[in-house]
Symmetry: D2
Subunit: 430 residues, 4 copies
């Protein structure tokens, strides 16, 4: 296994924190045992948990106004994999990477796979891109891709998805994620019904090419880049898609793709109930698809989503097997730090949901004791479970304090030397 | 036929406006004929159109803070029917009334039906009420009705709906509209999945009691009266309901029940495409379920909804037969005036949608000529079609100027004498 | 001092929890001391903190659709004070009550004051009511109060506020809170500018009657009960008011009165900076002015508000002295339980903000280390400070577990016998 | 005067439409005269009206996901001016252009000014850019510009604004518009108060450099590119800025920069009342700062804004002299067509507001006749005033049908030959 960060750095950093962690873990264990919870079994569950990292997430993101790159930006998928390797090495929580085609296209797929294996990384869902034009592309996606009025453009978009499946097969991926930006900017520009008919027709061709053990995840989004209508605008439409396509088709929920004020955890519950929850793109948002770091704006909402997941897990909901992935835009932080922190936030929400007293909660719900039901969730949420997360990382060879350890390692400085500085610039508006 | 307003008043009012109307109608006819549109055929279509009036709409509405009644508030369903008779007499656009049980409960249903017939009114969809407790009710709906955790409460709510069907059968209604306020105010208070299972179970019992020629309309709403989660929160859940229940179950769209910024016309298109659009509750809103007068805040949005309806009508969409009803809360106006004006706005949007050049629009959509597609809609929207609406009313015996004619009739003053003044008061908060 | 709950009940309940609390408090003390924080000084600060309770909050609230009262609803301000006495006795965090006139009008003010004193309660800001009509009122507020186009109606509203001041003087209050529902439901109904001129003119008359040591708090709200425009719609308008009125005029921030997605903590910061923050109405919301229990929906947002308050306190911001009050509608819980829990949440957010490492935060802000700045806040937020809150209550004679103790006391059952059951009913819509 | 479009093309196109226009104008004149309105005086007012065009608006816009350029993209400010010349030639409504520095930087300012004069264009407000990094810039704006924690960066941003003033002086501009993207993506990243203190300090330096006859317009925006907080986030903060800076400082209102559901026309009224309305960036939006074509989504809202402007004009509001500018992103249309159409929509809203019967409206407002007040506005809004707009264009030498005439001219094809094709590409995210 290739270690991106020297294990001696990790050990030195851990050493200085080990004693306090041990005491905190014991104290927490005692408090949890008073509630009838075995801290060890919780730790084992989170140790077995993983969330995928998006390959594009390790580069600095931007807005339509500007992008401000940082030092040591990854130049290609190999650089990106190394950055992902750092994240997993320190957090032990991100064992897989999700690729984006054509951004991550390489000529030698087996070399790529080997690189991943060497870093301890597998390949999660493949992501196609028909929301921007690649150089030399025959047909432009300016007015749509899978839903374009022109059949040749739709065909090109379908074939791109088929290519993504082929690449994924070579890498060991088992899923294709399809997000399109197709929509319209003016009332009247697009016929909603015909556009959706074309979408279903295109996606049926993609679906037909899925290997038996693959799943396809379609992702809805309220708006952006289209600003009046979007073809796959909400979970209702997304559900119709999954239903029309068949048993291998599922809905992907990105936490930032909803209308203001929407109760996202309820959407999650509905999709689980109707066996069409495919998975998540985790991030946080205050206004729109802000792609902020997971849990940085509304950590209780993240917990409530995980509360639904653990509830489904606990009662053995049929067909329940969602994929977990981070999907964020890191505009003002070191992407590696943001992804480590966000992976930790996901684990935290999971552990908090695990320690909810579900028997008590059931009782309160049955008796309509709204206050105690709420308090039952909040008791779990306000429990500081960091010692469990840190102990799980420590025992798996990771860092008690991932960000501090990463900074101590000097990784960013090192790659900044190897990787040439990138010019920033205006975004899409100029 | 009982005329609530003396025809001589109507004739006198019309007389003073007839000449100008004739000139305006001719001028508009000429302009439309230049676009290849026959004004007469448009007029015939809108003359054949009707929108139902809600019985509760003729009383002054209020908020949780207060209700400020006006003079001559209707005391019972008979008074309400007379007010509805006025609206239809002057607008010729509201031939049916939608009842609300138990608010409109009477002992003698055949007398009620006769009263309607005498006023030229038929009975539209029946509305059940399980969002408030009626005096003497065995089980409270404080914590839910069709989804309550207690089986007896659910049974009571089911039976109330069955009773509504029975009343409707006696009155000639052909549909039941079910809106419930069930939901929760705290995370944890309700288990989303179990609540929805209970909902489906209850509604299947209601559905089973539907006569063969009836339809059931379920209505979604994002929030209020429940402020954290609502069981039937959006069109996605509403679609699942209609699908689970069967071919007589359809989704009702209230224009004010959506999340901020949602593209409502697109939801309409999706429901049409999947043959589950049951109908509308028309009103307008700026913030939430404001229940403002239809078309008073965003008339272009109303037009865009009708654009979808006419598009479906034009291409002969299968299973397309939506019910149209106003549903508003008149807090600061004379409810009769608001309902007349709103019925006119609905007709206006319908006519504007009828004069869209659909062939040209199709072409622009096919060529992705977004600007001309938008202009095609806006050309229709900005056409002042009032002469068509007024001429249709005049020819059907209604008023060219309904509000002015109503005011000239002195109807409100007259009923204020007969109907005792009602005390206002605080709303639900005290 | 009149004790509403027997101290023996409190002691018995505390006894069973004392040992665990002691251990948890010590453990937390150790963890905080590692961060350089003295737990005792934090505890002293929160022990000295208090949040006012609204008299109307102890009755069950409702919506425009219905109100579902619970057992033992308070019949008058004396009953309400006793309920408030329970809240303060168990939480030791709510030493004052805010009255609402005319709801709390009594003939003998000195008897009322004595009752408060006996219960250990003082009187916080007075609240006037010109958003509903009181029986026998000469002029209706249907179309406005302080901004009504009719001078006599405005005068009546002004005089009501003057009366509130007089009552407050007799009770020892030092502030008047003015919230009005004035606005419009239709574009055109109201001239924005003239309505605001009338508002300022009316409020100047109220301001002129303020005693020297009083403050007036004006409260903004985006919408409801008016659904197109509201005269005091946002903090911008509220600031203009405070500026126009003078140095005793300040802005009140209700956490639920803002547009979707608005950054409330930033508004708080601006008002502090320009010395016009008067205080808060604490509650929580997901959609609009939901008036849910404080901290029940988005506890991190509450923390971020307190982060601004502690920041201002720490740097000695000039003119900084905000009033703290709960303002919630308890529709599905026992109001006493909700208010105890909410007072605790306010204290929790305060303590979490107190333990933010402000020196480190300053450094990260200066260096634009966004990730570590965020982590600094989150470290404080995820610290479970319940042992501090519980210890402060215990030491002040309150309950370690207020809700459990309250339930054990049988208070609600007892008052349900004395206070007759109240009928529920529809809200403002019928 | 340089004519970008051959006058013979314009004349030929007008010829085919002149007869119908004459009839329509006469018919409308008759209808308006029945309402006591003289169509000629309305036409004169709109003929004298102009709205500025942004230089960056004639290039195809994009999103953070992609930009899809069209044929004949302008290569520099000279090309842009020619495109603006086309817009003004055909619409006669856009006599000035607003520049953006450094995008429009040239070495020879007098040549640029001459070019404008030759095209009949003057120079409107100057726009500075400190939201993206220009090549070679000493200090990056990644973490802010006028509010950066680093003094040298702030100084650089101030100096850029001073340079914009200098350029503007040479071109005859009389105003500077300052919009910054400064803010934060994480709670804690920025200290709200200190950042705003730095903002005021920087802007005071800019203000000090304003010539006596200049104004500075500051522009607020709720979010984007910063996604947690923005320094100048709303009109409240914007008002504080204008007040702190002095009498030459005013607030700019961009129609797309507000929170969901906000009543923008009311903000306009408040700023007029307090003499701080600087002007507008017109566009339309459904979700956020969508920068869609003016009037394409909610034309009634645009009318309501103009209703406030005409109201202020009519009553002679003191200090009322707002600047009018379009600010849109044309992602899927020919920018020239969008800008011509949008300029027409602005003129349309102005004319509709001019024909509101203000005397009647005043009366209805005074009597609280909400329904007739609303109808008074809607009567004006639904009047099809296109004949007035077209006649004004025709008489000023413009086109009756600007888009059709533009297409007939072949301008885009011609410049596509001269201007090399531009590659599209991903936006800020890659």
């Amino acid at each position: 296994m290739t270690s991106m960060i020297s294990t001696s750095v990790i050990e030195a950093e851990n050493e200085s924190r080990k004693e306090a962690l041990k005491r905190d873990y014991e104290g927490l264990g005692e408090r949890l045992s008073r509630r009838g919870i075995d801290i060890e079994s919780i730790k084992r569950k989170v140790a077995a948990y993983g969330v995928a990292v998006p390959s594009w997430g390790v580069g600095t993101g931007g807005t339509r106004f500007a992008r401000f790159p940082g030092p040591g930006e990854p130049r290609n998928i190999y650089d990106k994999l190394e950055d992902c390797g750092v994240i997993h090495q320190l957090t032990r929580a991100t064992p897989s990477v999700s690729l984006h085609i054509p951004w991550d296209t390489v000529s030698d797929l087996s070399a790529l796979k080997e690189k991943g294996t060497a870093l301890g990384l597998s390949f999660d869902a493949m992501n196609s891109n028909t929301f921007s034009d690649a150089p030399g592309q025959a047909h432009s996606y300016k007015f749509g891709s899978l839903t374009h009025t022109d059949a040749a453009t739709r065909r090109q978009a379908v074939e791109h998805n088929l290519e993504c499946i082929e690449i994924g097969k070579a890498l060991g991926s088992k899923a294709l994620t399809v997000w399109i930006g197709d929509g319209s900017n003016f009332p009247g520009q697009s016929n909603f019904t015909r556009a959706f008919e074309r979408y279903l027709d295109s996606m049926k061709q993609v679906y037909a090419a899925l290997p038996d053990d693959w799943r396809v995840f379609t992702e809805h989004k309220m708006y952006e880049p289209a600003f009046y209508s979007t073809v796959v605008q909400d979970w209702g439409t997304n559900y119709l898609i999954a239903q029309e396509l068949g048993p291998k088709a599922f809905c992907l929920v990105d936490l930032g793709h909803h209308a203001p004020n929407v109760n996202i955890e309820m959407i999650v519950a509905r999709l689980i109930q109707f066996r069409k929850l495919g998975g998540f793109h985790f991030n946080d948002s205050k206004y729109g698809d802000d792609d902020l770091d997971t849990g940085s704006i509304d950590p209780y909402r993240l917990f409530l989503v995980f509360n639904e997941l653990v509830d489904a897990e606990t009662r053995g909901a049929k067909g329940f097997d969602p994929a977990h992935m981070l999907d964020q835009s890191h505009n003002v932080t070191d992407p590696i730090e943001s992804l480590m922190t966000s992976a930790t936030e996901v684990c935290r929400a999971y552990v908090q949901a695990l320690i909810v007293d579900r028997e008590a909660l059931d009782g309160y719900q049955q008796e309509n004791d709204a206050l105690m039901a709420s308090e039952t969730l909040k008791l779990a949420f306000r429990t500081d479970v960091e010692p469990i997360l840190a102990m799980a990382r420590l025992e798996a060879g990771g860092a008690i304090a991932p960000v501090a350890t990463y900074r101590a390692s000097g990784y960013r400085t090192k790659v900044a030397v190897e990787r040439p500085a990138v010019a920033g610039g205006g975004g899409g508006i100029v």
